[in-house]
């Protein structure tokens, strides 16, 4: 059984193969001294090697390639650890896959020199099996990398969402919601929720929704704004939409969007002045005229 050779070689030639694996990695420029110390790289390589070796040994009697088999549990765990650590520090998906694949050639080399095989059949079988094994390990690594990245993207999306729709208290009973970028339905929902809860938390009477940073207002964005303003009014506060630039005013007119009762102002400054007036607040300059 060819797999026997592999596990015997993995066992007997551990030191030699680890070294050779390291050299192949170095040759292919996969040793990132900028991201890892030599010791860290060595520990990771050893960890993977031992898990692989253990898996191969355990799978001698079963299907070597079933990656879900129990005998590969350690391998999967080790890969997950190493992949997470490496991608966190900036190793690319391709580098991660190549890192795993770099074990192939040293092992083939050992097979060639240790297996006494006159007609080559045993060797070809062993190479075949080991190739399939390492390929599926590297594929699994790629999947891990991608799922790590997906997680990062999702987390960043959530963080951005919160960052992108802050509600700031400008004054007693006056809050502002500066909107930046695009206002898709998901963001709009977030903005609405944040705004409404700020009315309660900050006891706001006036909410200034500033769209200076919004690039275009189409009918859907307009609809979101109108709905938010209506909800603000339902809660007993008043919404002022500010930062309506000339180009946005023009497109809104041409779209035929009716902002109805909602108060609109061209700048945040004017909206704030309005709000002060309404709340009977005077802001006095102490610099003598």
């Amino acid at each position: 059984m060819p797999v026997r050779y592999i596990h015997v070689i993995l066992d007997n030639e551990r030191e030699l193969l680890l070294k050779a694996w390291g050299s192949t990695q170095a040759e292919e420029g996969l040793i990132r001294r900028d991201l890892f110390t030599e010791r860290e790289a060595r520990t990771q390589t050893e960890m993977l090697y031992d898990a692989l070796s253990k898996g191969v040994k355990a799978s001698v009697e079963t299907d070597l390639l079933d990656p879900d088999a129990e005998c590969w549990d350690d391998m999967r765990a080790a890969l997950a650890d190493v992949t997470r650590e490496r991608t966190k520090r900036g190793v690319s998906t391709a580098e991660m896959a190549a890192f795993v694949l770099a074990l192939k050639y040293p092992l083939f080399e050992r097979l060639r020199t240790t297996v006494d095989d006159s007609n080559g059949k045993v060797l070809i079988d062993a190479v075949n099996q080991f190739t399939r094994l390492i390929d599926s390990v590297s594929l699994y690594t790629t999947e891990l990398c991608i799922s790590e990245r997906d997680k990062t993207i999702r987390r960043q999306q959530e963080e951005m969402m919160e960052l992108a729709s802050p509600v700031v208290e400008l004054w007693d009973r006056i809050v502002a919601v500066p909107l930046v970028g695009t206002l898709d339905s998901m963001r709009a929902q977030e903005v609405m929720e944040n705004t409404l809860s700020a009315i309660v938390d900050k006891k706001a009477d006036i909410v200034i929704i500033d769209i200076t940073g919004v690039l275009t207002v189409d009918t859907q964005v307009a609809q979101h704004l109108i709905r938010t303003a209506a909800a603000v009014r339902l809660m007993g506060a008043e919404a002022i939409i500010s930062g309506i630039s000339p180009r946005i005013a023009q497109t809104m007119v041409q779209l035929g969007v009716d902002t109805g009762e909602i108060r609109t102002r061209s700048s945040l400054r004017m909206a704030l002045a309005d709000a002060f007036r309404q709340l009977d607040t005077d802001v006095i300059s102490r610099i003598a005229k």
């Binding site: 009918t219 859907q220 023009q250 035929g256």
Partner: protein, 105 residues
């Protein structure tokens, strides 16, 4: 349009119109293919938005302001027509919809 040196107001108009049309293609047409062509000689950007959705039965009604079969403001089609420098809708119920619009830089 940047390459054509368009004023920001002209860009905003076209981007808004395209946003309306593309969103319709997405929502009502079930996804749309958009082709953008920049004609340097006339300093015009042409945009085609095609979908293979249900099509529009009553074009006059769809274009009229305030009509929506969904939950929109019903001003997308008419608005885009007013914002664009050229505008044409071809639609065949059961086959799909194609909207072609242009904006001069």
């Amino acid at each position: 349009m940047d390459a054509l040196g368009a004023k920001v107001i002209r860009k905003t108009r076209l981007v808004t119109a395209v946003s309306e049309i593309f969103r319709n293609g997405l929502i009502y047409g079930g996804g749309a293919l958009v082709l953008i062509h920049c004609h340097n000689a006339t300093r015009t950007v042409w945009i085609d938005c095609c979908d293979d959705g249900p099509g529009i039965e009553d074009m006059a009604l769809a274009l009229s302001d305030g009509y929506t079969s969904g939950s929109g403001l019903g001003r997308g089609l008419g608005g885009a027509k007013r914002l664009a420098d050229a505008f044409e809708v071809l639609s065949e119920p059961g086959i799909g919809t194609q909207v072609r619009l242009a904006g001069r830089a």
